[in-house]
Each structure stands twice: as C-alpha cells, then as structure tokens.
Amino acid sequence: MKQFWSFIKKEFYHIFRDHRTMLILLGMPVVQIIIFGFALTNEVKNSRIAVLDRSNDAASASLIAELEASRYFEIQKHLYSYQEVEEEFKKGNIKMAVILPQNFEADLKHLNKAQVQVIADASDPNVANTLTNYASAIILDYQDRITDGRQLPYKINTEMRMLYNPQMKGAYSFVPGVMALVLMLVCTMMTAITIVREKEMGTMEVLLVSPVQPLKIVIAKAVPYFFLSLVNIASILLLSVFVLEVPINGSLPLLVLESILFTVTSLVLGLLISSVTESQQTAMFISLTGMFMPTIMLSGFMFPIENMPRLLQLISNIIPAKWYYIIVRSVMIKGVGLEAVWKETLVLVGMLVFLLFMSIRKFKIRLV
C-alpha cells in the first residue's frame, strides 16, 4: 500500500511540476464551454435575405415589413431584376430571396389569391428548410390577418405547448452536448499519453522492474488526472448554470455522480489507448483524429440519432458521450431522477468495467 501511495505521489509531482500543462488542462474546458456554449446553436436567425418587389403596392410593402420585423430575417437588399437574385446567391450574400409578383394587391383583392415565390440557397438544406418554413409561417399569418372577420365553419384549433424549453433556447440542447464533448475529449487526452510516454522516454523499464503490480501502476497513473477532472467538472457545471444560464432542474448530486462516472470512463479509455500504442504520436492521433469527429457527429447533439442509418445508430451506441448526453439532458433540463436514466447509467458502468479490464489486460509487462 505504501508503494502505491508513493507511486501516486510521483504522478502528482509529474503533473504539478509542469505549470503550463496544468494551466492548459484546467483552463481549456473553461474557455471551450464559454465559447461553444454561446456560439454553437442551430437556431437560424438574422439570416440575410433579399426581396424583389415587382408590384410596389400597399399589400406587398406591408408583407415585406412583416418579414423585416421578424428576428429570423435581415433584409440585406432590395433587388430590381431577376438576374440580380442569382448574382447575390453566387456571391454568398444572401440565404433566401422573396419575390412578390406584379399586381400582388389587386390579385389579393379581386381573385382572393396571390403568389409569393420563395427561393432558398439549398446548399445547406437544413437552413434552407428552416428559412422557408419561417417565411411561410409569416406569410400565412399575414394571410390570416387579412381574412380575419370571416369566420370559417368547422374549424379545428390547435393549442401548442412547448415542454422544458418554452423560449426555445439553443443552449438547452447544445450546452449538455458541449459538456459531454469537452469532458470526454479532455479526459481521454489527459491519460492517453501517460503510459506510452514512459515507454517512449525509456522510464517504463524502471517501472516494470519495480515490485509494483501492473494494476497499481495503471491506477496510480489515473488518480491525479481524476482530481484534475473533478475540478473540471465543477467549473463546467458552474459555468453552465451561472454563465450560460442552463438550469439544473433535477438533483445536483445525481448529476455530479453521473459526471464522475463519465469522466472516469473517459480516463480509462485514455489509459487503454496509452497501453496499446507505442508512441505518443500514435496515441494522440487515435485519441484526437480518431475520436473527435465521431464524438461530435454520433453523440446525438448535432444530428438526431433517430434519423441516422441503422449501421450508424449501432455505432453510436459505443460512444460514451452519447449516453452521458442523454443523462445530462434528462437530469438538467427535464429534471427527472435516476429512475429515468438508470439504463444509460448501467451502460456507462458496463463500458467502464470493460475498458478497465481491457486496459489491464493489454498492459504489457514485458518490453519488446
């Protein structure tokens, strides 16, 4: 036991000696959470659009005013010919163009029918879709307003209620995702090069001839990083609540425990990478290039998992961040308890046990 403690002490020295690295390890999550928490959102707002008004009458002017008033659109330009529309799109100046035909008001008054053309830059289909939807909603509202007073028979009304996030804040879905992403990558990266570094520097031999068991070497490596991670969890949670204003509706102890579970899983994943690789370069390449994109894309916060093809849905299951994301979202925002997330928790525990087992088995006690 005494040996074990002195081992842990050695690892602590290694880390605390290097102030620069420490600063990066503790400062990085803070900066990232703040930047991504504010900047990442799939809300579409302030989109630059152009209008081509061919009728220039009272009705078209008031419809354009409605568009201008919404926070989704920013009218960049008033165009005068159809050719200009294409030019503006090509230059990337606008995302959508609204074209009102000649005799707009007259058509509305006499034929009870008029047309509006909405052209979207569909190179980003998501934004195009959303913008077209927003524009349609505004135009339909306008239409309702001018029909008002003529109550139609057999009318079905809808009453809509937004659960959990009535103000539709983008932060509510992105902050938990960013938490999962940052925690997972930082923690994995911290431990990914610990063992392989000793191999590369040649100090591994010294460790292996000491009477300490491999299991203890592996665990001692992770302990100091575990404490660093605790600090990171605390700072991330504090920032989410007080700076990004995402509430913790569920129980805080549960959230902290789940975060610790997730962090430890990531640390052990790093240890596994470290013990199967031969150079720091390889270890880093796996933990970054290998994990970065899959974690962003398959953990469910950028793209809905239920839309993915079957194969990718299956692959997404082995990404720890996916499960943690579900847990954080449920506990923080929906405010539910362990009874709603016990399955996800079990999956994480299972991953932890598996990774720990693998990294001890793969830890070679002989150098080649």
Binding site: D18, E43, G92, I139, Y154, T158, E200, Q281, T289, M302
Partner: protein, 372 residues
C-alpha cells in the same frame, strides 16, 4: 538544396517507417469520410409521437391515421392520459404529444369548432419548431377535408390564400451530403496536417535529437522546410483520396474546377502547417503541443460553419471566424463544389489565406532558435 533533399529523405523515411501510423493517417480519415456524412441528416422524419385520444370517434381515428401516414411521424404509443404520455416524453420514447379531447367530433360538428392540444419536447428548439409546423399543416389539411365533406365551397374561394412557391437552388434535391462531405473532408485534412506537424519538432526536442540537428550546419529554413513539405504532401494526398471517395461513394463532382480547390488547399495547408510549427517551437513536451493544438483545432472546427451556421453566432464569435483558416476553406470548398465558383470569385479568401500562411510561417522561422 542538397541539404534540403537529404532532410526530406530523412523525414519521409521517419514517416513511412512506422507503418501503423502511416496506415492510420490514411485509413482513419477515409473510413470516417465513408461513414460520418451519413449521420448528418437533419431532415425531420420519424418524430416520435404519442397520442392521447379521449374521443375514440371516427374523426379522431381519421386524424391519427392522417398524421401517421405523413411520413414525418412515427406513432410510438396510444396513452390513456396526458400524464402517461408525459412519462413517455420524460423517458425519451416520445417527442410530441397529440391530445384529442373528449367530444372532439361532436363539438366540431355541432359547435363549428374544436381544439386539439399539442405538447412538444422543445429541448432542441429547431426540431420542436419544425415538428410543430408539420403537425399543424397536417391538421389544417385534415380540417379542409372535413370542411369539404360538410359544405360545398363556392368556386371562388371566400378564404384569401397566398400561394407560397418555394424553390431550392444549388441543391434542388436537398441532399445534405453534398453539403457535408466537402466540409468533413476539409476537417480531416486539417486534422492530419496540424496535429502531426505540431508534434514533430517538439518530439525531436523531447527525445533529444534536436541538439544533434542544432550542431549540424543545417540552415533554419532548410530544417523548417524539411518538416513542412512531407506533411504538406500528406495533406494533399488525403484531399485527393477524399475526393475519390466523394465521387465514388456519394457521386459528388465539383461544379467548379479542381484547380481552384487545389490552389486554395495548397495555401491553406501551408497556413495550418505553419500554425503547427509555431505550436511546436513554443512547447517543451509533446503533451503540451498536443493540448495546445487540440485546443485551437476544436475551436477552429466547431466555429467553422460546418455544423452550425456562422450567421447564427453572436457577433464576437463571428469575429473569431474571420481569423479561422478552417472557416475560409469550408466556405471556399462549398462555393466551388456547389456553386461552381472559380479563382476569381474566391480571390479575397485566397489572399487572406496567403496572408495567414506568410505570417504564421514567418513567425515560426523567427521564433525557432538553434541555441536554447
């Protein structure tokens, strides 16, 4: 010149010697390019729906039938009460609740109107908005059907209607992959280029071979060029392989010319590699270099406009994107691939990137000293 050739030979040998890392540099990005773009599908379908039908009438059945056959919604369950349905939402088995009140049919027929209740899980606001809009338009359609059953509408509709004619340019089939594949390719090229260079010099420091190089008569710029060129070539190789996959796997052929893309990519890689070198000269250990470049790359990639539109970001974040080389490349590659832009249209971005390349590499050369 000869010194440079020998240095290049050494670097290439070091890279190709380690077969496992070489394989990883080439295979891992390609595998990701084959798999990941399929995950990026934002089209709303299979929104999980829970129905609470208190009415059990012919009309309520018709309505549910109409909603589920639309393709956007997947009926998860019929619940007996709103509380049960809410439970489903809490456990992530449903995203949307449609509650049909008792006497829905009767009040619609006898009182001329009836009200439906929708509740949407709006943690993801965009998804909730779209889901709600789809469901509403289906209900409106149904409403129109009911109306025509009961009354003969006059030929000239009394209801004023504005027909909205939506058109989608540049990607009329709304194929999300055409948008994502070039972007993901840019990220993979960046990852390969930046991480490896940032580790490279510092590795020589850590292992101790840096001193040996420093006592040789090798010139500073030779040394740095020797470090740059191999990874520059590697980046272009990954880009080429990536376009092969884009063509075979996704049928994506750029509208613009490859020349434009390669010219930009060449300058872009110089800038990114320069950044890697700079990180490398300022770090003492590989761990430091790796953490710093991870930190920068993560910001560059997430604020590049690949996943979330730059227009939606707050003003200060949009300023960050102006000094973000990755954002420029993603912008350019999409302009070229989707809209057929040529060198003339992207001249501004190209000039800025050239500026980055000169600045970063110049800085790296100046800050690298042979004496410690």
């Amino acid at each position: 010149m000869r010194t440079l050739l020998f240095l290049l030979q050494k670097e290439f040998r070091q890279i190709t010697r380690d077969k496992s890392i070489l394989r990883m540099i080439l295979v891992m990005p390609m595998l990701q390019l084959v798999l990941l773009p399929n995950a990026a599908d934002y089209e709303m379908k299979n929104i999980l729906l829970s129905v609470v039908d208190h009415d059990h009438s012919e009309y309520s059945r018709q309505l549910v039938q109409k909603v589920t056959s639309s393709g956007y919604f997947k009926l998860n369950s019929f619940s007996d009460s709103y509380a049960d349905a809410l439970q489903e939402v809490e456990e992530d088995r449903a995203d949307l609740i449609l509650e049909i009140p008792a006497r829905f049919e009767k009040s619609l027929v006898h009182e001329d109107q009836a009200t439906l209740f929708l509740a949407i899980n709006s943690i993801n606001g965009v998804k909730a908005n779209l889901g709600g809009a789809y469901l509403r338009s289906i209900i409106q359609d149904y409403n129109r059907e009911v109306r025509t059953q009961w009354i003969q509408l006059p030929r000239l509709s009394p209801e004023t209607t504005i027909d909205i004619v939506p058109t989608n340019w540049f990607n009329p089939r709304m194929n999300y992959k055409v948008f994502m594949v070039p972007g993901i390719l840019v990220i993979l090229v960046t990852l390969v280029g930046s991480f490896l260079t940032s580790l490279n010099i510092v590795r020589e420091k850590e292992v101790g071979t840096m001193e040996q190089i420093n006592v040789t008569p090798i010139k500073k710029h030779h040394f740095i060029l020797g470090k740059l060129i191999p990874f520059w070539a590697m980046g272009l190789l990954v880009l080429t392989l990536g376009f092969g996959i884009a063509r075979i796997g996704y049928g994506i052929i750029p509208l613009g010319s490859f020349l434009t893309i390669y010219v930009f990519a060449a300058v872009f890689l110089l800038a990114v590699l320069g950044l890697g070198l700079l990180t490398s000269t300022y770090s003492d250990t590989q761990q430091q270099a790796m953490l710093v470049s991870f930190f920068m790359m993560m910001i560059f990639i997430l604020l590049s406009g690949l996943y979330t539109p730059i227009d939606s970001m707050p003003t200060w974040a949009r300023y960050i994107t102006r000094i973000n080389p990755v954002a420029y490349f993603i912008d350019v590659i999409r302009l070229v691939v989707l809209k057929g832009a040529g060198l003339y249209e992207i001249r501004q971005q190209l000039a800025i990137m050239f500026g980055f390349a000169v600045l970063l590499n110049g800085w790296a050369v100046l800050s690298y000293h042979k004496r410690s």
